[in-house]
Symmetry: C2
Subunit: 556 residues, 2 copies
């Protein structure tokens, strides 16, 4: 692709062009903005190059040779500065040479099928203060059939895109006036969120968690003491001055929970103490990586901290994994995998402490007979963790629940309990979320269900559609009956054609439509229709009510 | 009192000594800290002064005369700088003269009964950067009986103090490590708050409100456009820098709601649109005025904005007043008064706009046949408002619901609807809360009920107390039965004496205690006891369950 772009734009400057999970891209500095019409032209040129079937030849260069070769390519020169001597390699096919670590296919003809998908703006090195480049995304496969299957999947994913459905279903919005990565939840989206939160709270109360609220700001000193300021600073907001002291937007809920724990003496008999919060935290992310609800700057964690004795870790982790499994199952995720992430390079705490924590997590997973992968070095700076990756209806991975053991914060904040020996002992903390964040989990739900939420989560569960104005009175009576049994129902009393109103309800993914006209009034019922288009026919109001209620109650 | 203090501390410097709602105070700069033991000594001296029965003589002085008189009193000299010529008066009794606007009683002997209550630190002029002074608070009455009644009331208020009960009942805490005025809600307090919030959400859904969530930070520019930066700056936090732009902690929820409203075109047919949020806002208050949960720096408003046409204002205000009345009644407040607050000196908008808004509020109050007071100049900078002041069980006033019409923000943000004429019209906004803030309302509830929350709000509704260890199994079975019917219940299975456990449950204000022993197991029941100490006697578990459930369901 780079060779084809150079053929069309002889002055093109090349930045970087890696392979990524879903294909590849290349960033260019070009004399004019690309348009969608450019992509077929570049593709045509690429087909000629593939047909010419040149071989890719790898060469290792000295720094000076490379600098000579790329003298007109300032981005390559900058990349060269970061490469250690002896690791500078280029690949050449025909007349075209590019800096590349490789590997490559042997010959261009081996490339079976490809497609350029789209262009996007991208800052050089992801740094908003530097040059804005033009990125071309593409995919390549061995066969045309595989390419087509991938394109079909992309089309389906685009239909399910939570950013698109967020707009179509009036779920949420993100506004330049407020700031990127900061989410406004509209009534429809907030309704789904509230149902999830209510369910979450109920399940946590049942399992012996105490739910708390803690402030969104606090003195910076706490975050220095915790180590976050040291280990995590690039993701923290800039401090605010209050009465000459620095305050920080909280990036985590831990410290408030520690203060509540420490607000009185705790005995070994009281442990474990499980403290949960739907805590909204703010973390700085570079503008370039923000994406819909999945990568944001403010999000609400379904957070909890378990304060326990060392001998309780295993059982507590088991209970959290089981709660996470229950949650995944309830929300309709059958497939997920567990990843045990271990000590990263940048970390707090001693090797012994890390070993102990990792062993406890392993023991819990093994006692549940669960398969898991390891992610060496993937842990948080303060401890090892178990991450759960959900697979959605399209088989894509989502970051789900996480469970992290922490021997670090108890030490830094002297979080103790009085043991049966009458002495003070450091408590062990387990950080955990079972959904992740409301924002990301909601995005995942939207895409998993393509916006057709299960009944119990649907913002509007039933819509009554009177055929003519004279049926409105009856419609309102039915609405009242259903509402009294706790069903979220509305009436579309607009003076529009029936077909329009039904299509509208289907677009809004309302699970049940109740059409009411003369026939239905006479039989004191309603004609039931599903959002799938399926026509159930005339039912009594009791039947409708039972059907909807049982779908709600079973969370099916 | 000042004369008595001078007699005991000849070097005392005098600051200010006003009468306040509940008595009087005087701020002194003294050579040593006062102790509680000093107060009786000062009182004794005061009694001598009263007995001497000198008259108070008023004199008007020129600035120069006053400056000569107070040459050794630097605080008085500073006060003099702020007094206009011709308004400088002093009062003398015996040898003692003080700067005072008056009026005074004629003779010291007219003071019937008094008591000095406590000392406190107070910054000169409330400014944390200036001298810390010592304040003595006192009260005075015509008769000893009135004084005693007041002291009794203070003792009762102290018992109900939400700061004291907040600690005793483990409801919340405020930590120096986080920052003053920032509240951590403990599981018990958070449970009460959650029940209030769930009830609040349910009632708002029923009344056609859409509930939303909006971010706690946003670009400062919005708050410049809104006028808050101009009119309200002293109560805003310092901005944060994000990517070179200034962001502010939100002091109000309005702007997020406006953006959601504006996220699509709105027709006159859709109005009114009612948007509600339990929105946590942050406002800067000086350290000196912070007080428990009633004056804080971060609080959650039960906020809503109604976007409507001008012809809908009256009906919407009526509905809000009725909702507020319903809320007050449900939470057990029979007495409240309505205050209509009108245009303040510092305000946005034209006189016409203010007149229109004030007329709409008046019309609503009158159509409900409600008595109300006027508070001239007490409105918000952006519009007139109706405030509801609750009277608690002790007859004290609390700031409750508020309803504010706003013609200002729609203009500043061009918030429109498409009229039946096809043209754009500015919408009218009504800001309203029906509880105020969760923090203040909760404090009010705590004091109103003296911590003995109504059953439906109690964090723990029933506690089962097994008499001996062999009764624990049965206790757990009863717990399970009650929990399944949605009662918040626990078991005190500690190896403590019965009397201790009952006293403990009473201290925790748990409404129902179920004592279970051999007799109760045999009859498959429990001995029921109320937190008042009343002994109901042996009941079947069904009876207990019905009794508790009916108290919960009726919110009585």
């Amino acid at each position: 692709m780079a060779e084809a772009v150079l053929a069309l734009f002889p002055d093109a400057k090349f930045a970087i062009g890696p392979s990524i999970e879903d294909g590849f891209y290349y960033d260019f500095d070009l004399p004019r903005p690309l348009t969608p019409d450019d992509l077929p032209v570049i593709e045509a040129r690429m087909r000629e190059i593939v047909a010419a079937d040149q071989s890719f030849v790898r060469r290792e260069l000295s720094r000076e040779e490379a600098q000579d070769l790329f003298v007109d390519q300032p981005y390559k020169l900058e990349l060269l500065d970061d490469l250690p001597d002896g690791h500078i390699t280029v690949y050449t096919q025909g007349q075209f040479t590019d800096l590349c670590r490789g590997p490559h296919v042997e010959r261009a003809g081996q490339i079976g099928a490809f497609r350029l998908l789209r262009t996007a703006g991208a800052y050089w090195r992801g740094d908003e203060s530097r040059q804005m480049l033009q990125r071309i995304y593409g995919v390549a496969f061995e066969t045309e059939a595989e390419l087509q299957a991938h394109l079909d999947k992309l089309a389906e994913a685009a239909k399910r895109d939570h950013r698109k459905l967020g707009k179509d279903l009036d779920l949420f919005s993100i506004h330049e006036e407020v700031g990127p990565g900061l989410v406004c939840w509209h009534p429809n989206g907030a309704m789904v969120r509230q149902i999830i939160e209510d369910f979450w709270k109920e399940e946590h109360h049942k399992r012996g968690y105490g739910i708390v609220y803690t402030p969104h700001i606090g003195k910076l000193d706490q975050w220095k003491q915790s180590g976050h300021w040291e280990f995590y600073r690039e993701n923290l907001y800039s401090p605010m001055d209050v009465d000459g002291q620095q305050y920080l937007l909280k990036p985590m809920n831990c410290l408030g929970h520690i203060l509540i724990y420490k607000s009185r003496l705790r005995s070994y008999r009281e442990l474990p103490i499980r403290m949960a919060e739907l805590g909204t935290v703010y973390r700085y992310e570079r503008g370039g990586v923000l994406y819909g609800l999945t990568r944001v700057r403010g999000f609400t964690q379904d957070d909890a901290h378990i304060f326990c004795r060392q001998d309780q870790i295993r059982d507590e982790v088991i209970a959290v994994v089981q709660l996470a499994q229950f949650m995944m199952q309830t929300f309709g995720f059958q497939d997920y995998k567990l990843v045990l992430a271990t000590r990263p390079d940048k970390h707090a705490g001693t090797p012994e402490v890390w070993e102990h924590a990792t062993a406890a997590l392993t023991a819990a997973l093994e006692s549940l007979n669960l398969d898991y992968e390891e992610d060496p070095g993937g842990g948080a700076f303060y401890g090892p963790k178990i991450d759960v990756k959900l697979a959605d209806a399209m088989g894509r991975d989502w970051q789900g629940p996480t469970i992290q053991v922490d021997f670090n914060l108890p030490q830094r904040f002297d979080v103790c309990y009085i043991g049966d020996d009458g002495g003070e002992h450091l408590v062990t903390m387990i950080h955990r979320t079972v959904l992740g964040s409301m924002e990301r989990f909601f995005a995942c739900l939207v895409e998993h269900y393509g916006g057709s939420f299960p009944i119990w989560l649907s913002p509007v569960q039933a819509r009554i559609v009177p055929i003519a104005d004279r049926h409105i009175e009856y419609a309102l009576k039915v609405e009242d009956t259903l509402r009294r049994s706790g069903i979220r129902v509305d009436v579309d009393s607009r003076s529009e054609r029936m077909g329009f109103k039904i299509r509208d309800a289907q677009m809004a993914k309302v699970p049940y439509m109740l059409i009411v006209g003369d026939k239905e009034i006479e039989s004191e019922g309603a004609s039931l229709r599903l959002r799938s288009g399926e026509d159930i026919g005339l039912c009594s109001i009791d039947e409708v009510q039972n059907r909807v209620r049982s779908a709600i109650d079973s969370r099916s």
